[in-house]
């Protein structure tokens, strides 16, 4: 696991890594690079995302308002082009 991810994981799980002082010490001991350390200290998520080159467009809705999977399959089966994309329902 990368150093900065180790830091984030410890910040999220270690009761003694909650204060600003403890986080700064953690960044030093794990030898996180200066730019990433600055982003962590400043809670600059956008900067950290860019430095890590992670996916920026994330969708986080995982529930349809109408969760009728069988009906959806029937609709899809009537469309030859896409029917092979919905299997198992």
């Amino acid at each position: 696991m990368s150093k900065v991810m180790q830091v984030l994981e410890q910040m999220g799980s270690d009761a003694s890594s909650q204060s600003d002082q403890a986080i700064e010490q953690l960044l030093i001991t794990t030898e996180v690079n200066a730019e990433q350390a600055e982003a962590v200290i400043n809670k600059d998520i956008i900067s950290l995302e860019r430095q890590l080159d992670v996916r920026l467009e994330m969708v986080c809705g995982v529930l349809p308002a109408d969760d009728d999977e069988d009906e959806e399959k029937d609709d899809e089966d009537s469309t030859e082009e896409t029917s092979n994309r919905v299997i198992g329902f």
């Binding site: 984030l8 992670v54 995982v62 349809p64 308002a65």
Partner: protein
Amino acid sequence: MQGSLVCVGTGMLLGGHISPISTSYIAQADVIFSLMSTGISERWVEEMHDDVRSLQPYYQEGKNRNITYNEMVEAILTEVRAGHKVVAVFYGHPGVFACVSHRAVKSAKQENLPAHIEAGISAEDCLYADLSIDPGKTGCINYEASQFMFYQRNIDPAAHLILWQVGFAGDKSLAKYSTGSAYRQVLVDLLLETYPSDHQVILYQAKVLPIDTMRAEHIALADLVDAELFMHTTLVIPPSEKMRPNQAVLDKLAKLDQQKPQSNHRPKLRLVL
């Protein structure tokens, strides 16, 4: 070798909420599928295992999300059918407001492949802690926001009402990732049938990264129309009325209490000769 599927949740907070059993399933899996809510948490999962495949690319604005979800399920099931130990990692609780895990487990079981969901810490769990709401105090009703609009649902103004995915409330196409103020006005009009326009509601977003901050913004219900909403914003509507006693039931219970007064004073032990 028979394949298997376990759906696990990372909880909401990176590093802080994932359970030991979920971590173990990830470590011992052949293939991991992930559906996380931020790029950083997605990277975190990727760094736990050599073969982590994000389900995010299946999303596409303008594409019906039901199709997206079914494609995700099919990707997962393909690996299970191939005999692999598959773990699908979701943010939050993998079985709460998450149709992909339920559909995948259902499909696997229909094919006699072992599959189950491990409990995780959901956004709802965080909400109760962050907003100091005890759902047992006055009751709490949860609805998906669009579903709440599409169907005739009951509102109890003496209980908390929580509407999820309010950022794209009213999207009948299931193809949008946000809806505008006109859609929200329809939602507000619906809520105004029960609540006063100045009723204080809360826009809630759980903390998902240790460098993130929790959002608990109090606004008047009428101001929801122009509020800044995201896909992960939840609308919390506190009670606007006090609970009213159900006198008819209370009277029935009182009669029962009067009929068997001796039962409370019955000796615990009786000598039988």
